[in-house]
């Protein structure tokens, strides 16, 4: 019974990993840019939830849509004022450019909100409930369900709509797409907006159960990078599978072997997968 609880905990955790990784994989898939500020976008989504709760008393029903809009706007601004320009430069400029943005956002948050940990009341989405002898934490279940929904929605938009086809066309060959009458910059800005919205939603939901500080994004970003490269850069469904896998492996190894060894197990698995499938579980070779 206790093992089932461990696995359920791992799955819920994994769905959250997938949720905050989808934005990162989208940006990579669309334009081959690694957004090092991704974790700090999540962090700002978390603070959005804090501000809406403390200033207006609003729960996730208010903070999730607002965070989605705010971080999407931030994504578009980052694209037009930073990313669009550094994409013309060498790879190193891209890395350092978004890394600089990460530091700017992190220390901006430190200045605006202070270094203290903040946290939201733990019953904003109801208490935990018991189902078949297994305990579920309301806020984590909500985050997991929304995580699955967002991943599915992004996947459908990319594969089943004309706007998705146009975005993919730009990522395949921007010049050819332009000749077909697609404006690459508009599509890329749209990708940053979608990634920003998904990331904002993730932040606002994670804030319900994780303590929040300006450095929260740092830890989450590492998990996101591992999830995305394990799942395959650019693959939204890959991020979902990888997230769930990492969550369950982490939980089981922490419970059975010991919490300090869980990263060893996860990264061993990570290296093995990349050894045999360098493109990740679901990435294109």
């Amino acid at each position: 019974m206790i093992l089932v609880q461990v696995v359920v905990g791992g799955l819920l955790l994994g769905a959250v990993y997938a949720l905050f990784s989808s934005g990162l994989t989208l940006i990579w898939g669309m334009m081959n840019v690694v957004n090092f500020a991704h974790g700090d976008f999540v962090m700002l989504g978390m603070y959005t939830a804090v501000v809406i709760w403390t200033a207006l008393g609003g729960g996730p029903w208010a903070s999730v849509p607002i965070a989605a809009i705010l971080i999407a706007t931030l994504g578009v601004i980052s694209y037009f004022f930073l990313v669009r320009h550094i994409m013309k430069g060498p790879m190193l400029a891209q890395i350092l450019g978004t890394f600089g943005l990460a530091l700017f956002l992190r220390y901006g948050a430190l200045y605006a909100f202070g270094a203290n940990f903040k946290s939201l009341p733990d019953d904003l989405v109801g208490h935990s409930f018991v189902l078949g002898g297994i305990r579920f934490e309301g806020s984590r279940v909500l985050a997991a369900v929304v995580g699955l929904g967002v991943t599915l929605a992004l996947h459908l938009i990319l594969t089943r709509t004309s706007i998705g086809s146009r975005m993919l066309a730009v990522s395949e060959d921007a010049t050819a797409a332009q000749l077909m009458g697609i404006r690459p910059q508009r599509m890329q800005a749209l990708a940053w907006a979608m990634a920003g919205a998904a990331t904002g939603i993730a932040g606002a939901l994670i804030a319900l159960f994780l303590p929040i500080s300006p450095t929260s994004g740092e830890t989450l970003a590492i998990v996101a990078f591992v999830t995305v490269s394990l799942g395959g850069f650019g693959s939204v469904t890959g991020a979902l599978v990888a997230g769930l896998l990492i969550g369950v492996v982490e939980s089981l190894s922490a419970f059975l072997i010991g919490p300090v060894y869980k990263d060893v197990v996860v990264y061993t698995l990570f290296v093995l997968v990349l050894w045999f499938r360098p493109q990740g579980l679901m990435g294109k070779a």
């Binding site: 905990g9 430190l110 994780l210 919490p259």
Partner: protein, 418 residues
Amino acid sequence: MLKTSRAALVAGAALLALIAVGPASAQQTVKIGAVYPLSGNSASSGNYAKMAFEMGADLINNGDPELAKIFPLAKGGGLPGLKGAKIQMVVADNQGTPQAGANQTLRLITEEKVAALIGCYQSAITVTASAVAEKYGVPFLNPESVAANLTERGFKWFFRTTPVAADFAKAYSVFLKEQIAAGRKVDSIALVHENTEYGNSVSSVIADAFAKDGLKVTTKIAYAANGPDVQPQVLQLKEKNPDVVIFVSYTADAILYAKTMKELNWKPSILIADDGGFNDPAFTKAMGSVTEGLISRSVFAQGKPGSIPAMMDALYRKKTGGDGLDDVSARVLQGFFVMADAINRAGSTEPAKIRDALKATDLKPDQLVAGYDGVKFDDKGQNILASTLVTQLKNSNYVAVWPKARATDPLVLPYKGW
């Protein structure tokens, strides 16, 4: 045009700076340097420390008539032993790294010309910063770093006022044995600790002390503090179901443990949190309502109204906008007053005289903010009268419950939680 005006601006600023720190004011101020984490992971604690310094300096420089009746240094008008010289705190950011801590210490000594130094919160940074002070022969007082080796280096300019891990372990051991004597079950003890220097060293000192005293540590769980999930650890505890759990944790993980224990509906009959994250105001604010009866340690207890700790606490709340003194800020404030007292008795800003005055320090419990048995240094610079109180969380506030002589509230067991 732009260039010339910028140059003029720089020149003007430089001129202003010169006027501000001109030779006239230098004679009337004593500069004390402090090297604390104002950015990075521990910035929260560092900024609370900074406010403690500002409050302490303000008390000595400008005074507080009520407090002055029982605390002579709060009369105002600066340090009487130095003809009313004002104290100026120069607080530098150690950025959470030993390298930056050493560099900032060097800057404070060579450029700011501070008379003495206080620092640095993190043990690892206190190591490097105090080594610089030792080289330059500047007195260095450490109010809060607990790593045992700090006072084992044969330094001549280093003083430490805080109790160390062995003092805490002894307090827990005596406390738990008293609980056994009172008829409580303490057959199995679990030690859950984060796995960097702090958690590893404190938990091993506790395990050693308990083994010597015949207390059984049956489960040890080490974990990395920065993860987003602690459910596996709590499920391990739930499965083993020990009578006593002792946590050695930082803030984010402390909040997650409190939350997860409630979610998974498990609690031991005695829950001890070794200070750290569990004493952070961010923790008590967010989790106080679901951790009622949590036992911790603290050198600070408010005490009776009108006592030095109670009045200092009220002033500190005014300074911070609501947060009272806690274990860390009280130790920092105590360190500051020990240094101020020594400089006052030295009657000089000469480093050697300040060091001699520090060596002669002999403060009694009723002269202190922190709940020590006094302040008196041994040859290694360690305060031999440092001790700790055992506290318990009641209505989101820690109150002193042990030892009985200094308890303000009765001990309530078993642990209630939510």
